[in-house]
Structures are given as C-alpha cells and as structure tokens.
C-alpha cells in the first residue's frame, strides 16, 4: 500500500469552485491537495486548449489570471489526470483513494465535483454523431476539433447557445438550434423570474452575443421544437425536428433535416456520488431529476469537515461556483484550525453577488422545464441505457411487472448497471419511471449511491486495501 499523502484540505474538482476553494485555503496557510480528472485545471467552463500538453504544458497557463497562482503555489499539490474513486471518514479526517493508486489523507474536504449533462434518450441517440452539447464544446475548446460539419444543436437551457455559437464561429454549419421550451409571456410573471433575469445584465448580454452570432449566419432558431429521432446507416445522417405539443406529449409538425451530428442536452445534474459516500445531506431539485448537496452560509455540509461548492450544490453557473468556492475554502481552512478556527461571516459583497447569481439561475430554471410527455418520442426498441442496451419496452415491462423505483427497474432490466453506473441514463430513467409508476421523483430515487465512485481495476483496489 502506498503511504498516504497528508494535506490540510483536499479539494475534489478543478473547475471554478475547486480552484477558488484551493486558492482561498492556501491563502490562509493550508497545505492543499487539488484533484481533477483532466491533465489541466479549469473544469468544463475554463477548459484550456491542450496544445502543448506533450511538451510539459503548464497546467494553469490558459486560465484567467486570478487562478494562475495555483500552478506555482508550493502549498498546493495538483493531482491531475486522476479521479477519487472512494472517499471515507477516518480518524482525524478523511481518506481519499485516487485512480492513480495514491491515497490522500485530509483534515477537511471541499467537494467541487460539478455536474453532468441531463440527457433524454430518443430513437437513434446511440448512433455515432449523436452526442451531448458538452462533447462538441469539449472537442472544440480543448482540442480545436469540430465534432461534425452539419450540426443540429437541441434540448433545453442556456448552454445550447454558446455551443452553437462556438460551432458556427469555428466553421461548422449549424442546421438549427432547437429549444424545447416555449417562452410564453406568462412565464415571466412567475415569482422571481423577472427579477432574477434582470439581476444579471452581464449574463443577458452574453446570451445576446451568442444569439447575434447565430443570427448573423442565418442559423434557424426554433422554440418549442425538439430532436425526437435521428437515423443513418452507421452514423447520423438525418435528424427529425418536431414541434412539441403542450407538456411535450407528442408533436403536431415534424421535418427531417440532413445533418452528420446532433448535440442534444437538457441542462445539468449535480454529480453526487462522493457527497453521498460522505453522508452529506441533500435536497431534491424542483421538478428535475437528481439532488443537490445542502449547504450552510459557509458552504458546510451536514458532515463535519466536508464543504461543498459549485454545481454540486445546485446548478447556478460559474460565477456563483467561484464565490461558493471562496467561502468553502475559507471555511475548510478554519475547520483545520487556521484563522483560530473562526471563519467569520461571508463579507456583504460576496453574499450580495452570490444571491444575485443564484436568483438568475432560479429564474432560468423556471423558463425551461422538462415536459412530462417526453417519453412519447421513445420507441419500443430505443435503448434507454446505453451501456446495457436496455430498451424502452423492457423498462415499461419492468414497471408493469411491479418495479416501483429505479433500483427495482435496474434489478429487472440491468439499466444503470454498466460502465457508467447510471450516470447517463439515471436522470432520464427517474423521469420515465416516475411517469410510468405515477410516483414523484423523490419516491423513485436515483442510482448515485455507490461506494466505488469510478470503475477501477481490481489491482488498484487490492493495492489500496491497507489495514482498517
């Protein structure tokens, strides 16, 4: 067994929240370990180009200036290209086991594990060329490569716009951008929506910039339309766009468009595996699958010594994540005895900015809800679980046979049992099973409970199994 590395604060996730937490904690004199699965810091939002990776690329060079100090900070140890596959409480703190075979002992932990895209299956969604908007974005920002030449971008939420704009700027033809929600005037009257949106003019301006880039290139922008199928011999050749009925229960118009790529995503789901392994209290998300970590004003969770920041606490965007990271890093430092153990309240300006970011996110969430009738576009043979290739017919049969929750469906159909362990299909399956069984999302549960957070070779497990 490799002797554990010891740090004051372990930060899991190298996006805006994790980087801000690491900076704050090291600034208060902590030894910090920062773990991320990528070889460079930044997470999804500040993803750096990998251009010079083989030539010993500095893991912070392409980041906004405020994060670059992390690279040379002697108080920060970077564990890049590595994931935490197991986390547990031990005497005097926490033990984290990494996929590189290392183990880290920490006095406090900051969870900044982010989120994954929420996807809804449709016929043909497992053809090569069908992918998430995030996949196209990652290829473009990280590698400077286009996912395809003729692309449909669809789903729901504000993330579709930067993805589509990035693709057209890089020379792809974006055949259409289809947002499934329809912006009805009444929506703006819902509590908090107008105030939330108007609280962040900078974000509205950012959105307007993407829109104008798309309109300049005459990209059709469709509201109330969704990708309901794609087809092709060995990859995507045609994509079906459908104008959705209310609550997405079927459609009244459709057209097939030629495209080699379709990028479809419906927002994000917090990555809860490690939070759950550490026993952190969580809350359901209103009308959306998955749950989020409950945090106090200093980002502390219900597990002493564990703090959380960013999307794992609810989808609020990069600016909020960074502010939360700052608070979490400070609080974690206090937990391990820095500053005399007293964090003090967050300063008024941090609190004010955070409240503004969160109200904007809440408003956006109200604009785009997933229609309960979305399963109308599934066919019997549509694979719902990509790993195990469980079909929609099998899921319906399982519920018909008495399965009342996701674990029951998984047991009968193997959906969620494959390599990704339900990370991809779990949220959609929760929506579908809740609909079929006539139960609430909280009642059908999810598939995020696993003591081994990522697949690891048995040798790594054996190697890590020390005494205790």
């Amino acid at each position: 067994m490799t002797p554990p590395l010891s740090v004051d604060v372990a930060v899991i996730g190298g996006g805006p929240a994790g980087m801000a937490a690491a900076s704050a904690a090291t600034g208060l004199g902590c030894r910090v370990g920062l773990v991320d699965s990528y070889p460079l810091l930044g997470g999804q939002v500040h993803r750096q180009a990998w251009r010079r990776l083989g030539a010993g690329q500095d893991p912070v060079a392409g980041l906004p200036r405020r994060f670059r100090g992390l690279g040379a900070d002697p108080g920060v140890r970077l564990h890049l290209g590595s994931s935490v596959w197991h986390a547990r409480q031990v005497t005097g703190g926490f033990e984290l086991l990494l996929t590189t075979g290392e183990s880290v002992h920490a006095g406090a932990v900051v969870l900044a594990t982010g989120a994954v895209e929420l996807v809804l299956p449709f016929p043909g969604w497992d053809l090569p060329g069908a992918m998430t908007p995030g996949a196209a974005q990652a290829l473009l920002k990280g590698q400077g490569r286009l996912a395809g030449r003729r692309v449909v971008v669809a789903g729901s939420g504000p993330f579709l716009l930067p993805v589509a704009a990035g693709l057209v700027r890089a020379g792809a033809t974006v055949v259409a951008v289809a947002e499934a929600s329809r912006l009805r005037p009444g929506v703006l009257g819902r509590p908090g929506v107008w105030r939330g949106l108007s609280s962040s003019p900078a974000k509205l301006a950012e959105g307007a910039g993407y829109l104008s880039a798309l309109l300049r290139r005459r990209v059709p922008l469709l509201a109330g339309w969704a990708v309901t199928a794609c087809r092709g011999r060995s990859q995507v050749e045609e994509v079906r766009l459908s104008r959705l009925a209310p609550d997405w229960a079927g459609w009244d118009r459709e057209r097939w468009v030629r495209a080699d790529t379709c990028c479809v995503g419906y927002g994000f789901v917090p990555s809860m595996e490690l939070a759950r392994a550490l026993g952190c209290g969580e809350r359901p998300r209103r009308g959306l699958p998955g749950s989020a970590v409950v945090v106090g004003p200093d980002q502390s969770t219900s597990t002493g010594g564990v703090f959380a920041a960013g999307e794992v606490c609810g989808i609020s965007g990069a600016a909020a994540a960074e502010l939360e990271g700052l608070l979490a890093g400070r609080a974690a430092a206090c937990w391990v005895g820095k500053r005399g153990g007293r964090p003090g309240p967050p300063t008024a300006s941090v609190r004010r900015r955070l409240a503004r970011q969160r109200s904007f996110a809440v408003a956006l969430e109200q604009l785009g809800r997933i229609g309960a009738g979305w399963t109308a576009w599934l066919e019997d043979e549509t694979p719902v679980c990509r790993c195990e290739e469980t079909t929609w017919a099998k899921v319906r049969q399982a519920v018909g046979a008495g399965a009342r929750d996701l674990r029951g469906v998984r047991g009968l159909t193997r959906a969620g049992m494959g390599y990704c362990q339900g990370r991809v299909c779990g949220p959609a399956l929760a929506l579908a099973v809740a609909g079929l069984a006539g139960r609430g999302l909280a009642e059908v549960g999810d598939l995020a409970t696993r003591s081994i957070a990522w697949p690891v070779p048995l040798g790594t497990i054996a190697h890590s199994a020390g005494p205790g």
Binding site: L53, G54, M131, A135, S234
Partner: protein
C-alpha cells in the same frame, strides 16, 4: 486553430496522424473515424458521446492499456489504438 506538432499513431493497423493537444478521441474524429468499438450485446457502433469522461462509450485499448476513455487520454506519438476488447468483440 493553433496547430500542435504532428503525432503518428495507429488505429487497427491504419497509420494516422493527429497532433499534440489531441485526445485519442479527437484525433480519431479528425481522421474521419466516428466510431471505434461495437457494443457487447447489439454490436452497435459507438464513438464519442459525453466527451468528458462520464459515459465510457468511447473506450479503446492502447497498447497494453485496456478500456481507456479516449476522450480523456492525451494522444501520444506511436499510440497503438484498438477497439476496446474488454467490453465487446474486437473490431467494427
């Protein structure tokens, strides 16, 4: 796009060229290869899906390393890339 240094690699005995800064997945895509394994049950072609290491659809074997996520692995000179055998029969 900034051009990285050219890197030669193989995929199932085809000699291909990517560049420094590519992942194995992006290098395959840049060479017009969009699927690089077949599923265990249905034999369906798979390539990149989530692009960020979550879905495991893009698995490849590289030399002696098995079941590597192609979207996370930086391309290296001389990589011998093959369809992942651990999760399905070899070869498209």
């Amino acid at each position: 796009m900034a051009e990285g240094q050219a890197l030669r690699f193989t995929f199932s005995d085809r000699v291909l060229v990517g560049r420094a800064g590519d992942t194995v997945a992006s290098a395959l895509i840049a060479n017009g290869i969009r699927s690089w394994r077949r599923t265990r049950r249905g034999g369906r072609p798979r390539g990149i899906y989530c692009g960020i290491g979550t879905c495991f659809d893009c698995l490849v074997d590289i030399g002696e390393e098995v079941a590597v996520r192609a979207c996370l692995r930086p391309l290296q000179e001389g990589d011998r890339v093959a369809p992942s055998g651990s999760v399905g029969p070899a070869g498209p």
